[in-house]
Each structure stands twice: as structure tokens, then as C-alpha cells.
Symmetry: C2
Subunit: 344 residues, 2 copies
């Protein structure tokens, strides 16, 4: 029987052990998560995504520092869907650890993809649940890369930050469309670079496309040119009072110098307040848990079918497909029809 | 009843109509794919992936031109998992079309993510099947982005190209690990840029890590410095004769000038020959079809369970999860146990 008491009481070694079990999909993890689940739902989850080179890691470290200064406990989960190795992740850990080392109010965990992407997304969700139950008040989930997979992981958060930076290549425009849809807060990092305003303008144009309502709200004055030496402006985030609609603010930061990070934390907290008062937070929580229930049902049903059908018959179905006698869709249908689901 | 004859006979309008049905998950697509499936398995599928800005599209266009020059029919499928919009994809089409316009031996199709990533991967697989049945001999599947999702789509090909280019940002190193695992052929595009050799060296270091055997095989001489004005060298791909092992060759290209593209086509054809003589091709085909069968089984089973359980009971399960009374894993298990799978 798993005893959740040490983790709930803040025992870091017990927590670290559980996270390893989760990552390895060890059988111990299942019972532990079931026992911890009633204690989840209190942390605010912040997804941080954006293309390679945008400076996500530096920004996450700055956010963690500010939260610690405000007496909030913080966990950081760095997810790298593109890497089957943990080497890079561990290196990132050590660099970050230097800034946040020895603080019992901070917990940092790196996760790399060992198997399927679905497996990583699930493991990340479970790691976040464990950190939530352990009492961390803000959980920053950073994903390396900018594909749909990273967006999906970031989307599982309450507040999703999309980080951009000047000069990240010609195809950046194409990436933005998908990322923008998921963004609650947009950040142009490295805002002291001379071409930063081009990035701001490009993002603004994409923002107009994705959220036509924002056009009337974000005025040109908000996007006035700021020289390389000027401090980044505060959040361009005066939310409209009526209708309780959230329009993604666009912020400028220089993470390596900590500039703009305080304003970013303020924007995150404003979004958190918006989620609570509008009911949008509860809706996102429900969507996330419904999706998780569905995914787990899919897995359970396939495992059961495989157990019932037996390897011989499954292998024969595969052979027929490989021989192009029957297409995979038809083969799946036939198997499902032969082994129907009954009520007990 | 779907008549596969027009598509098998090369009718482009019938083919385009079917691809639209597939993209929209229209009911007509299922029967059509079942009828066409026996005619698939002849095309050679080439996945082309790499980070934004690496010049994948230009390179794909060059490859298509060379295949056409060699009297091979070519289809290009450009997949953008990060974009829910088709605008970018269509623009890319038009630019490419200029170079390949009016050639009946070429078919180009762009696909953008409208719903889930899983949906896109499945639709891409089906589009490729239709093009295969329609008789296109080489199918180039280009994915925008460099996350695991893109790797998964590229992996469904017979030969996977990973394209890199100099100076794509600090995090590029992190991306490479996952991409390298999937690579059959590595390409450093924009090889005329002054810092291209740094990229070659970095890739080589990663290659050593991913394929230790390659260390002995790829000699330093292969990586000698080439000035900006020197033509890219031919494929560094003298495969070892014994054991029939494929070690990913590393090629340099300048796609905008067509340099290195012919060598790249030669490397693809060498890999194709390797797949055929080693049996690795048949193994990949089997893996891909087994995976597809499993995915379709999962979907069919969940749909059946949802139909049986009914919305009321499912909603109650979701409510209990949202109230943190039961965790999603346990809830899924209980439902699956209450509705077991039986043999008819």
C-alpha cells in the first residue's frame, strides 16, 4: 500500500522517487497517483513554449526567482519531446540549479522522451499531478521545440506562454499560427536586439488574424518603437472590463538581464484571476481530465482486446494487412466486431 | 460503391477529390481506401524533416526535378502539424508549382492540421496510400517543424532525410538528438554559408553519439573543410560491405542553386536498394502497418464503448474525476471492467 503522507508533507526524496517511477511507468506509480489525486487541483500550471533559441529556459528561471521572492513555492518541469536522451536535459538542470540551488521551495525536473510521444505527454501530466499534490503553488512546464506536440503539452496548463525572439529563421511565420491559437500571453524575448520590433510587428499581425477582436483593443500606441536601450514596457494587458474576455497581451522581455520578468509574472497572475472569476479555469480543468479519461480508456480497451484475441489471431490480421489483402481500417473493424463490448 | 479505376488509371481530378475526402474524414474515403489498398506498396516514401529555416521546401523541389529528369513520377505531400490554417501551405504550393507546373508526372498536396495531431498523422498516411495506388513512384513527405510529431510522420517513410542548416539558434543541439535517431540520410543545406562547417562538425559529433559504429567508418578526411565557392562533395556514403548495415551518410547541399541535389537522390536510391536487399524495408512496412492497425483498433473500441456506456454514465465518471473523487486511471479501469470485451 502506498503511503502518500511523506509526499504530502513535503519530503523531497519521496517525491523524487515517485517521479522516477512515473517516468519509468513503474507499477508503483499507479497506486501512488490514485492516492495523491484527491490532493491535486490547487497548483497553477504555466506552460512555456516557443521555438528553439527563443530563450525559454532563461525566462523560466527568472519567473521562478520572482515567484520565490514573493514566497510562492515553484516547480519547474522541462520537457523535451524531441530528445530520447537525458544528457541535454541534465545539463540544463545543472545550469538552472546554480541560480536556484538549495532552495527547498523550488523543485526542478527534466523529462526526455524515451518512448512514444503519447507516453511522454501522459508522464508529464502525472509528474505535474505529483508536484501539485506535494504542494507546489506554481508549476512551470517548459517544452523544448515548437511543434504541435509541444503545444499540446503546453495546452494542458492553465496559462500558456508563447515565447518568440528576433531572427529565428524564415519558417517562423508558419510556426506562429499554431502556437498563437494556444497562447494566453505572448512574449518577445531578447527585446533588446535591434530587430526585435520586426518580431513584435509580425506577431501583432498574426495576433490580429487569430483574434480579430484584439484589433480594436491593442492600439498602435502600445506598439510604439522602443530603442535597444529602453527598458521593456509593462504588460500591454489592460483587459476589457465587460464580457470577461481574455485577449492575449504581448510583452517584451530580456531574460538574461531579468528585464520584463516581473511584468510577465503579473500578467500570469492576472490570467489566473481571470480564469477563476470567469469559470474558464474550471472549464479547462474539465476538458483536460475528460481527455485524460478518454486516453486511458483507449489504452485499457486495446490491452483487453489484445489479451482476448491472442497473439496468433492478431499476427494473422497483421499478415493479411502486410499482404495487402485487407486494409488496416477494415481489419480493425472486423476484430472489433468479433469481440464486442458487453455490459456485465 | 467506389470505383477505383479512374484513380488507378491516373485521373488527377478523381485523385484530388479523394484526397479532399480523406482530409475531411468524409465517409466516402473509407471505402475508397479499402478498394485502393491492394494497389499500394509500390511507391518509395521519402520523409523530409528538419528545423524551421533549414530549406526543406527548396530541397524537396530540387529532388522532384531530378526524379522527373530520370522519368520517375513524383508526389509531394507537405505536412504542417503546427498550423491549423491552410494559408501558408497554399502559398508554399504556389511557389513550388511555378517550378513544376503543368507536369502530369508530378502531384503536390499540402496538408495542415485541422484537428488533432493523431488525425493529421492518419490523414497523411491515407493520402500517401492514395498517391501510392495512383502510381506515383516516389512520394516526398515534407514536414514543417522539428518536434517528435514531425519525426513520427517522417518515420512512416521508407527513407528519412534530416535537413540541417547553419545558424538556426542555440537550442538546435537539443533538437538534433531526436531527429538523428530517425535519420537515414543527413543533409547540411545552405552549405555555402561560411559557418556551415560548424554545423557539419556538430552533426558529426551527434552522429558519433547516436551511431558509435559510424565513428570508425566516417573518417576525418570526409569532413575536410570546403570553401564557400567549392562545389558540395558527393555523398559520403561508401557503405560497408559486410553485415549489410546502413550508416547515415552526411551530405552538403545548396538547394537554392541545386548543388548536391543529384548526390542526395543517389543516396536515397542507395538506401532504397539497401532496404530491399537487407529485408529492412519489409520490416519497416510491417511495423508501420501494425502500428496503424493498433491505432484504428483503439479508435474503434473507444467509439464502441462510448456508444454502449451512454453519455449519462460517461458524464458521471467525468464529474467524479473533476471532483477529485477518483483519478482518471482508476475511472477508466472501472468502466473497462464493467463493459468487458467478449468473443461472439
Amino acid at each position: 500500500m502506498f503511503d502518500p503522507a511523506p509526499i504530502l508533507a513535503g519530503n523531497r526524496r519521496a517525491l523524487a522517487r515517485l517521479l522516477t517511477h512515473i517516468e519509468n511507468a513503474a507499477p508503483e506509480a499507479e497506486a501512488a497517483l490514485a492516492a495523491l489525486f484527491p490532493h491535486t487541483g490547487r497548483a497553477h500550471l504555466v506552460g512555456v513554449t516557443g521555438p528553439p533559441g527563443s530563450g525559454k529556459s532563461s525566462l523560466v528561471t527568472e519567473l521562478a526567482k520572482i515567484y520565490r521572492g514573493a514566497q510562492r513555492t515553484v516547480a519547474v518541469v522541462a520537457v523535451d519531446p524531441s530528445s530520447p536522451f537525458t544528457g541535454g536535459a541534465l545539463l540544463g538542470d545543472r545550469i538552472r540549479m546554480r541560480a536556484l540551488a538549495g532552495d527547498p521551495g523550488v523543485f526542478i525536473r527534466s523529462m526526455a522522451s524515451r518512448g512514444s510521444l503519447g507516453g511522454l505527454a501522459r508522464a508529464t501530466a502525472d509528474v505535474v499531478k505529483a508536484l501539485d499534490a506535494a504542494g507546489f503553488e506554481r508549476i512551470l512546464i517548459e517544452t523544448v521545440g515548437a511543434g504541435q506536440a509541444e503545444v499540446d503539452i503546453a495546452r494542458a496548463a492553465h496559462t500558456t506562454l508563447v515565447i518568440e525572439a528576433p531572427g529565428l529563421g524564415d519558417d517562423v511565420q508558419a510556426i506562429k499560427a499554431g502556437l498563437l491559437e494556444a497562447a494566453d500571453i505572448l512574449v518577445v524575448n531578447k527585446a533588446d536586439q535591434p530587430n526585435a520590433e520586426n518580431t513584435v510587428r509580425a506577431l501583432r499581425a498574426s495576433l490580429d488574424l487569430a483574434h480579430p477582436a484584439a484589433r480594436a483593443w491593442v492600439t498602435d500606441a502600445d506598439f510604439a518603437h522602443h530603442g535597444a536601450s529602453a527598458p521593456p514596457p509593462a504588460a500591454e494587458s489592460g483587459q476589457p472590463a465587460e464580457g470577461d474576455l481574455w485577449l492575449p497581451p504581448l510583452l517584451r522581455t530580456v531574460a538574461t538581464e531579468g528585464r520584463g520578468a516581473l511584468e510577465l509574472v503579473e500578467a500570469i497572475e492576472q490570467h489566473r484571476a481571470f480564469l477563476q472569476r470567469s469559470g474558464e479555469g474550471a472549464r479547462r480543468d474539465r476538458d483536460r481530465l475528460t481527455h485524460e479519461l478518454e486516453t486511458r480508456l483507449r489504452d485499457a480497451l486495446l490491452a483487453e482486446l489484445v489479451a482476448r484475441v491472442g497473439n496468433g489471431q492478431l499476427a494473422r490480421a497483421v499478415e493479411r494487412v502486410v499482404a495487402r489483402e485487407i486494409d488496416p481500417g477494415r481489419a480493425a473493424k472486423e476484430l472489433a466486431e468479433q469481440y464486442p463490448i458487453r455490459n456485465t
